[in-house]
């Protein structure tokens, strides 16, 4: 066997979930490797703006885990795995408080506790935040905790990396197996282009999302569905991949910045949406399931900011799927802005200095990139691909893949937690809650093993040959294929879907997959972005096909899956999960029953509300 290193746990991905998993596994006594596609501290988590949802009740003492759980299930239209939503709501406050002991500095309330802000779909002010750069605070705190652990190791061993090592600018291209179980990872180093192999009995996938398969996206370079594809290739299944969140407010102009995120905090802190006629249109778009929970007049909505006890919430704070569809409809009806969005205005709602204090990054971003001063004029915004609710099928308690022993997934790459639509702020808390659980259970799994898996020469050779294939004879250009893929997904499997278009998308994806076999790159292996993209293409194409296949199959509209030809939400479909798996070259999607709800959790809702989501038979069964 060629050179390889051995670790107890390998974490693939160095965003919030990956770093939290690594910290936990290390604290459980494991030797841990973190594989980081970019430089350490640059992961996509850094882009999260609004905050971390946790029912600490610092601003409104009425909040508790049950209210958070209810909001999360409603946001996901009850397709969430209830056990994940329960664990998430219960454990989020501990995970946030723990960050303070590692040096995080959140914005404060008057009495010195962590301040919490309003957000879409959350009944009470719930998001711990630092201005509008909460993700940066999260990643930096976890990064500095990793460094603290390394400093402790250094004091003991004289080596910073004796217990926990971060491999920067390394990319994993294959999970290695010994029979059914995980045996390690294979990949390449960007700087040298050389291959690396790490033997490890447990692998935690924490690679984030898939947004780079879409043209208009808020996602960064890294979001190419690597973990989703690695899981599929290793024999795991992907759950409910049809659910993709289009964030309602991305920048729309200039073209160079189209898709860049405009935080939901703008609305949480008082910003309103208007169409080109100046109308605050969201009042027209409160769906039946949320009727009664949102204000019906502007006066009532405005009253809520000062006195939430006596007023209902403004409809701008509906869950993201509802707001994104509303904006899409307004633009389609010809009431859009000059650049094809709607107006998001905070300038007439808050004093300039307050806007700069609460939304410094937004102020900076619009000023520097669009010549717009958000303290004086409205922003133009429209939907942008933001988050994938679907992901690796995992056990809700342990984050383990039921199909592949030793494989774990946490954060955006894992499925189930958010159902059909994620609430803002529930992502950062998800990363911490399930990152920790993945690290903990991976460590337990490893310590209970009696025998370590071994590496298999044939798999290593095949992985090396696969990675080098783009240097062979070929005629296709990776950048051109990527652009075609993004256009296809954007146009045909986007925010509003139709059967005919999705079939067309599947044809095009099949064509792109064939052409991707013929991809050729120029230059050599050292820090070659063309080669890197050629390798990413395999992942993006696999995952995009899962999205299109599942979306074609699900004949209803729910959360981040809107069918023009099946516009209603169907209670029978709530019971159905769609699972993608890969058999040799072929992707298949099968239906699987959603596990029945635990009775005490169901009892947190009133029957009239449940009847909107559950069939009468299901509710009769519960009795």
């Amino acid at each position: 066997m060629d050179d390889y290193e051995s670790y107890d746990v390998v974490v693939v991905g160095a965003g919030g979930a990956g770093l939290r998993a690594a910290i936990e596994a290390r604290e459980q006594g494991m030797r841990v490797a973190v594989i980081c596609k970019s430089l350490f501290g640059k992961a996509h988590t850094v882009m999260a703006e609004g905050g971390i949802a946790a029912s600490m009740g610092n601003v409104n003492s009425g909040d508790n885990w049950q209210v958070h759980f209810r909001d999360t299930m409603r946001g996901g239209k009850f397709l969430n795995h209830w056990r994940m939503a329960e664990l998430h709501a219960k454990e989020a406050p501990e995970r946030v408080w723990e960050l303070e002991t590692w040096g995080a500095l959140f914005d404060r309330t008057k009495d010195g506790r962590i301040s919490q802000r309003n957000f879409g779909g959350h009944e009470y002010p719930r998001l711990a935040h630092v201005g509008d750069r909460t993700g940066l605070e999260l990643i930096r705190t976890l990064q500095q905790k990793i460094v603290a652990l390394q400093q402790a190791d250094h004091r003991e061993s004289g080596d910073y990396e004796s217990g926990l090592k971060v491999f920067q600018e390394y990319t994993v291209t294959r999970i290695l197996k010994d029979g059914d179980q995980v045996a390690g990872v294979f990949g390449y180093r960007r700087e040298s282009g050389q291959f690396f192999t790490i033997a490890a009995p447990a692998v935690v996938l924490a690679t984030g999302g898939i947004g780079k398969s879409f043209k208009v996206t808020s996602n960064s370079w890294e979001y190419t569905g690597d973990g989703h594809a690695l899981a599929l290739l290793a024999g795991a299944r992907l759950l409910n991949m049809e659910f993709i969140q289009f964030h309602p407010t991305g920048m729309v102009w200039p073209p160079s910045v189209k898709g860049i995120l405009v935080t939901e905090s703008v609305r949480g802190d008082g910003g309103v949406l208007r169409n080109s006629e100046g109308k605050r249109f969201m009042f027209e778009y409160v769906p039946e399931v949320f009727r009664g929970q949102y204000a019906e007049t502007e006066a009532e909505a405005d009253g809520w900011y000062a006195d939430p006890g006596k007023h209902r919430r403004p409809p701008e704070l509906l869950p993201r799927d509802e707001v994104a569809r509303a904006i899409n409809s307004e633009v389609k009806a010809g009431r859009g802005t000059p650049h094809g969005g709607v107006f998001l205005d905070v300038s007439s709602r808050l004093p300039a200095e307050e806007i700069i204090r609460r939304l410094p990054s937004m102020h900076h971003q619009f000023k520097e990139l669009a010549d717009v001063d958000i303290t004086r004029e409205p922003m133009e915004v429209g939907p942008t691909c933001h988050y994938v609710m679907g992901g690796v099928e995992v056990d809700p308690d342990t984050a383990a893949s039921p199909a592949v022993p030793g494989l774990y997934a946490a954060g955006e790459v894992a499925g189930g937690m958010h159902g059909s639509n994620r609430l803002g702020g529930n992502s950062l808390s998800d990363l911490l809650v399930f990152g920790r659980r993945a690290g903990l259970h991976a460590a337990r799994y490893v310590s209970e093993l009696t025998q370590r898996p071994t590496l298999d020469r044939t798999q290593l050779d095949a992985a090396a040959a696969e990675a080098l294939a783009p240097f062979g004879e070929g005629v296709e250009h990776p950048y051109a294929l990527h652009q075609e893929l993004q256009q296809t997904m954007n146009d045909l499997v986007g925010i509003i879907r139709r059967a005919g278009e999705m079939k067309q998308a599947l044809d095009r994806l099949a064509g792109l997959r064939r052409r991707a076999d013929q991809v050729a790159v120029e230059g050599h292996r050292q820090f070659n972005p063309g080669w890197h993209l050629a390798l990413d293409l395999r992942n993006m194409l696999l995952v995009s096909e899962c999205v299109a296949r599942a979306a074609l199959l699900r004949r209803e509209s729910r959360g981040g899956h809107t069918r023009e030809d099946w516009p209603g939400m169907d209670r029978d479909w709530r019971r159905v999960n769609l699972l993608c798996s890969l058999d040799e070259e072929r992707l298949t999607v099968e239906r699987q029953a959603n596990p029945p709800f635990r009775a005490d959790l169901l009892a947190l809702f009133d029957r009239a509300e449940l009847a909107k989501y559950f069939t009468p038979e299901e509710l009769a069964d519960e009795r």
Partner: protein, 256 residues
Amino acid sequence: MSDERELRVWRGEGGEGGFVSYRLAADEGEVVLDLVHRLQATQAPDLAVRWNCKAGKCGSCSAEVNGRPRLLCMTRLSALPPDQPVVLTPLRAFPHVRDLVTDVGFNYAKAREVPAFVPPAGLAPGEYRMRQEDVARSQEFRKCIECFLCQDTCHAVRDHEENKGAFAGPRFLMRVAELDMHPLDAAAADGLDRRASAQEVHGLGYCNITKCCTEVCPEHIRITDNALIPLKERVADRKYDPLVWLGSKIGRRPRD
């Protein structure tokens, strides 16, 4: 709407190489990184450059534009002279890898040398109480996106490779200041004097407050005025106040 621009990119490996000129279409509102992406997609697919978020939040795409350290994603073409080529070079203060990519490992090594936050004994998670006014100072420094432009521009390292061993650079001296100003950091109880170590371990004395770091900071953090100068003042208080000096000699912990 579309203009043609000349892009002169320094290309090569391990410090060996030279400028290559390209002509490219440029659209309204574009930033330098848009041109680099177009160049990769059309003429130079293997051009090495780091980037992630393209929104000024991750600090990956640091390079020098017309000789000035900048983020490629936040530098608009309209802010550069229209009749001259856009000249791109890698960060000068770090070892060259390929094209616009350098080895920034120096910064990660320095980060490890700054002792981490020390949690106060006797306070459980959830019991931390701090006033907004008291956290605001350190929060300003935590806006840092670690683009390392300040590290690149600081002449104490840019022009003096030999100083790298003893000098942490503005980013990590700011980190020391951040921890020193953290309302609940209990380093002192652990026997760690952050101010003394700023001078003795992290090389604060090499900084002669020319403010170059502040000028290039894309987050507009006032590194010199708010972090480095106050840190110098605190170090000076400690060093030259005879009462503090006496206190430290007779074994009483000096008051803050």
